[in-house]
């Protein structure tokens, strides 16, 4: 995106400034409450580290799941043209706007012990409820739409001219996908993956509703923060800062990738 035209009316800066302040100020306010002298101690407590490790592990796996299933969805939504496409798009991105607790309930009724699929898993001896798998399912459920939406946008921006050329030169659809489409959208794909990772990392509602909360198994960072808030508010604030830091880092990486891809 090169800067050719910058004729925005000046008054636009006022609401923009208010809006930005509205987001930044609470974070600053939080930082003022941190007990910096004990900060390191607070974030390196055994339960905090366990939660952080679990969060990083589950969010990574669910990002892989998002890539595995979300990329095909994005490709189909961006490249195909079929009846009911708009409806499919709305449904696939629904978890983005659903209250997380609704997502958690929906997962419970699907994969829970008495759920639609869960009862068969249970019969096979596969137990999803209260397991790390449940956390990954919850995170994938809420994070996948972010990948799909972001990637579909990238695909549409790039258009299809190279793909069309490759196809006319005799490349098979799979070859076009592998040799042209995917390399072309790689930066967009990376930033979409990072975005869904960040969303998975912050997942709370669906996890507590569906997966439960047990140290080392299902208690991720957001759950640990929520719990510590009652008994140890200082610890909760410190952990929140860590999560904010990781999220900002992740978003900055995304922005960097996006910027580079546009040169």
């Amino acid at each position: 995106m090169t800067r050719i035209y910058s004729g925005l009316p000046k008054w636009l800066y006022l609401p923009a400034l208010i809006g930005a302040t509205f987001i930044v100020l609470p974070l600053v306010a939080m930082a003022t409450r941190i007990d910096w002298s004990n900060f390191f101690e607070l974030i390196t407590s055994q339960s905090s580290l366990t939660a952080l490790k679990l969060s990083l592990k589950t969010a990574s796996i669910s990002t892989l799941m998002c890539l595995l299933f979300g990329v095909p969805i994005a490709l189909i939504l961006a490249r195909e043209d079929f009846r009911g496409q708009q409806l499919v798009r709305s449904i696939v991105t629904l978890p983005m706007v659903l209250p997380p607790v609704v997502g958690g309930l929906a997962l419970l009724y699907t994969f829970g012990r008495r759920g639609l699929l869960g009862q068969y898993f249970e019969a096979l001896g596969l137990n999803i409820a209260f397991s790390t798998t449940a956390v990954i399912l919850a995170q994938t459920f809420v994070a996948m739409p972010f990948l799909v939406v972001s990637l579909e946008g990238t695909l549409r921006t790039y258009g299809q001219r190279y793909e069309v050329v490759a196809a006319t030169l005799g490349a098979s659809p799979s070859m076009v996908l592998r040799k042209v489409t995917l390399p072309l959208i790689l930066p967009g794909l990376l930033s979409a993956a990072v975005l869904s990772f960040a969303r998975a990392l912050g997942e709370f509602g669906a996890t507590i509703t569906f997966a439960g909360s047990l140290e080392g198994v299902t208690r991720t960072m957001p759950l640990e923060i929520y719990l510590q808030r009652v008994s140890d508010p200082q610890g909760a604030i410190a952990l929140s800062m860590v999560l904010i830091f990781v999220a900002v880092l992740v978003m900055a990486v995304t922005a960097q990738i996006t910027k580079r891809s546009q040169i």
Partner: protein
Amino acid sequence: MKTRGLKSVAMLGIATLAFAGCSTGTNETTTPESADPGTGNDATTEATAKERDLVVFAAASMEPTFTELAKQFEENNPGVTVKFNFAGSQDLQEQILGGAPADVFASANEKQMEPIVEAGLNDGEPQIFVTNTLEIVTPPGNPAGITNFASLAQEDLKLVICAPEVPCGSATKKVEESTGVTLKPVSEEDSVTNVLAKVQAGEGDAGLVYQTDAKAAGDTVLAIPFPESDVAVNKYPIVALKAAPQAELASAWVDFILSADVQAFLGEAGFGLPS
């Protein structure tokens, strides 16, 4: 270009939301309940002038009973509307310390009352108005065959309890310690509601919740009381707040809750009563 346009739209949206938030905040308290001018039969003009809101911050577990009691209180005090903020006691405590305009605070735990008293926000001593003890709940039919507290320690049981950090969890821990039974839960939830929900959904084979929650859940769960719960009686304190916009009504509500009739009503709802 396109993304830039979107960015400013988003910015504007957030700013508008912020403003909207402010304006509804002020409206809420000033809008009079202009419903029925004929209720005050002796002095109509005075009655309309005396439209008052009593704001009660109460623990989530008080919702069913307090909502019911509010109707009676409003009947006894014409022109008064009782408004509730039901939430976890921890949330309420934070809101009150943060300056929320509350008249009364009813906490589900003495611990959450302490900071209020330390900050000198209380008008008078907090009084215990009900108590609550733990009970075992299982899905209907009791598939795991739970009979008493000790049987919660059996192998492969999907037991759901509250985390030690939250009040129901610290009560659970007390019982555990006094009985010497070691529980191996599959989940330590952040609230009684979440424990109950998991047992109701059949995900958990058993859970530990308060007797009032078990009672309110009706036949969606099977409730099993156990004598060992006596070591962890949870006490609910209530207090009028000093900064109360409706100080007089606040103490009237506290007296009302402590009155014999209301105490009997709360007892029927499953609460224990302070001795």
